[in-house]
Structures are given as C-alpha cells and as structure tokens.
C-alpha cells in the first residue's frame, strides 16, 4: 500500500538557487501556478465586458464577489468593503487550491495542505490587520488588548492573554486550513489503499471502502469549500477588530 503521506511530497521540477536559498520551482509551485491561471481565466472572462444584465460567467464572478462583500458588510461594516478585493483574492486562492487539488488522475497537488503556504496566507491577513489597525487608530490600536470594562487589577493579565491570542491568530488560521486539507487527503488515500488491498482478497470486499471513498470525496469537496469560507470569514472578523476596535 502506498504511503498516504506520499501525496504531500514536494518534488523539485526546476532547481533554482538564489543567494544560498533554495527557490526551486516544485510541484507545489506548479499547482499554485495552475490555480493562478484558472482563477485568471475565470476572472478575465467573467469581467471582460461587464454588463448591467450579466452573462453566465459574469454572474458567477458576481456571485462570489457579492458573497465576499456581504460577508465584509456584515462583519466589518461599510468600511470593510475597501478590503473586499484582498479578502476575495485570499478566498479564491484557498478555494481554487483546495478544489484543484481534488482533481483525480493528474497527480494533482494541494498547495494548501502545506503549512508553509497556509502560514503565508495567514500572515497576509495578520499583516493586513496590523497595518489597518495602526493606520486607522494609531497607538490607540493597543486598546484592542484591553476589553472595555475590565477591572484594573486583572488588566495586566487580561492584556497579556489578549495579546497572546492576537499573536496566535496567524498560527491557528494556518494550522486549521493545513490540518483540514491534510487529514481529508490522508483519509481518502487510506481508503483508496483499502480498496486495492481488500479488493485483492475479494472483489466484493473492495466495494465497501470504495463506497466510503465516494462519500469521502463528497465530504472532502465540502471541506474544500467550507475551509475557504472559514478562512475568509475569520479574516473578515479579524479585520473587524482592526477597523472597529471591537
């Protein structure tokens, strides 16, 4: 049975070394590039000739964009709409990586199953929150760490906890996405292995894990979408802190 971790292996395609750093173009880079091309095709076709009464592709783009804008309007308010393109970029990147990683038969790779990539995504959100927070509120942004009405004698403790939880956000954001994608893909691979090993014993026995894998595929597709949604939702909730200070 194939090692279920093998699917996450980074394979160098074009070796590249700059200033002692290994910047090789790998299968992860390739599938991120494919994602970029797919998203570009989707967005450029969908917005080629924007019309008041949209065509199919424009309607699809609008649906997703409206989804992000509504989320920002709900969680941040009208001021949040300025960041809609960036949150949209994060959302569509995660969504496309997750979904394209599910394509069978082409040795597809899910870049978002790697913590380096999800951490990069989380840092974009984190840095955005910090920049927006200081730009809008200056040093007053630090009041985020002291919720209103905190009794003075616990203030240092509360501030320390709030600060730590603020710092842990990029990590939780990164780990949530990476762990979800990894766990789902491992599970699918394991049951795929069962189909072969049990099917070798008896064809009828192989049907059972196959059925499970069909269900898992549906579940994994759901997780691919839900995790992209959760990532964007948390990003907009964190953004709300920066814009409105609670």
């Amino acid at each position: 049975m194939a090692n279920p971790m093998e699917q996450f292996k980074i394979e160098t395609i074009v070796p590249l070394n700059a200033g002692g750093f290994d910047l090789s173009f790998t299968n992860s880079s390739l599938w991120m590039l494919i994602t970029l091309l797919a998203v570009s095709a989707f967005l450029f076709i969908g917005t080629a000739r924007p019309q008041l009464v949209p065509g199919r592709m424009q309607a699809a783009v609008e649906l997703l964009y409206d989804f992000i804008r509504d989320m920002l309007r709900e969680n941040v308010g009208k001021d949040g709409l300025r960041y809609a393109p960036l949150i949209f970029a994060v959302f569509i990147f995660v969504l496309s990586c997750n979904l394209i990683g599910m394509v069978p038969f082409v040795h597809s790779f899910t870049p978002t199953s790697h913590i380096a990539v999800t951490f990069g995504l989380a840092m974009i959100v984190f840095i955005l929150v910090v920049i927006v927070g200081f730009a809008r509120h200056g040093l007053h942004f630090f009041s985020l760490f002291l919720p209103e009405g905190t009794p003075l004698f616990v203030a240092p403790l509360v501030a320390a906890i709030e600060f730590l939880s603020f710092l842990s956000r990029p990590f939780t954001l990164a780990i949530r996405l990476f762990a979800n994608m990894t766990a789902g893909h491992v599970l699918m691979k394991v049951f795929g292995g069962f189909v072969v090993s049990l099917g070798a014993v008896n064809i009828g026995l192989g049907i059972i894990p196959l059925g499970v894998n069909v269900a898992l595929t549906a579940l994994e597709l759901l997780i691919a979408v839900v995790q992209a949604y959760v990532f964007a939702l948390l990003a907009s909730i964190y953004l709300n802190d920066a814009v409105n200070l609670h």
Binding site: L16, F21, L43, T47, L52, V61, A89, V117, G120, T182
Partner: protein, 158 residues
C-alpha cells in the same frame, strides 16, 4: 510528514508570494472592481427605478382620487337635476290634473242639469198623455165626458 520538512519552506513561501502577488495585483485588482462598479450601478438603477415607480404610483393615486371626486360631484349634480326635474314635472301634472278635474266636474254638473231638465219635460209630457188617454178611455167605456184637465186634477189629488 513532508509538511514539516523545513527544507522546502523557503521555496514554497517564495513561490506563494510570487503567485499571490500576481493574483492580487495582476488579476484581481484589474478585474474585480469592474464588476463591483457594475453591481453598484445596477443597485443604483434598480433603486432609481423603484423610486420612479413609487412616484408614478403616487401620481396615479392622486389622479384616481381626483377622478373619484369629480365623478362624485357629477353624480350628485345629476341626482339633484333629476330630483328637481321630477319635482317640476310632478307640480305641472298636479296642476293639469286639477284643471282637468275642474272641467270634468263642470261637465258633469251641466250634464246632470240637462238630464234633470229632460226628465222634467218627459214627466210633464207623460202626465198629459196619461190624462188624455184616461179621458178618452173613460169616454169610450163609460161615456162620461171628462176633460184631461179633470184627470190631471184627480191624479194630483191622490
């Protein structure tokens, strides 16, 4: 797990940075705001259309109210005219009826008077005829000559 092998971190982060930068600045920024503008324009147009429809509905309501008032006034006027005409007609027919009644009464009276007259003359004629017949009959049957005047006197005496 290959995920925790730091050897690939720099390469992954580098390519992620490159591709996400391209995605944001070369793909999302040039395309998405166009759609955003269209969505806003559509919302504005729909809002404007709704406002215009609201205004048109208001105008239509005013028109209908005006129409209804005018109709009501016209109906009242017509009813008043009909009532007046009916009253005038009733008065006229009353007068006509009264005049007719008076004429009929007069005619009836005249007729009654002439009838009385005719009856009187007829009765007078009848009496003379009876007296004459009686005197003739007495003369023929008994042979006594009695004048009709005597008979009349005898009848009147009874």
């Amino acid at each position: 797990m290959p995920q925790f092998d730091p050897a690939s971190f720099v390469s992954q982060l580098f390519w992620f940075g490159v591709i996400f930068t391209l995605l944001y600045f070369a793909v999302v920024r040039p395309t998405l705001p166009k759609v955003g503008k269209v969505i806003d324009a559509r919302e504005a147009q729909v809002g404007g259309d709704l406002d215009r429809a609201e205004a048109a509905k208001g105008a239509a309501d005013t028109l209908r109210a005006d129409h209804e008032t005018a109709m009501k006034a016209a109906r009242d006027a017509a009813q008043a005219a009909v009532a007046q005409a009916r009253e005038t007609a009733a008065k006229a027919s009353d007068a006509q009826l009264k005049a007719l009644g008076a004429r009929l009464d007069a005619d009836a009276e005249a007729a009654a008077a002439s009838l009385e007259l005719a009856l009187g003359s007829a009765r007078a004629g009848l009496e003379t005829t009876v007296a004459e017949l009686t005197s003739e009959a007495v003369a023929k049957l008994v042979g006594i000559e009695i004048t009709p005047a005597d008979v009349s006197a005898a009848i009147a005496a009874r």
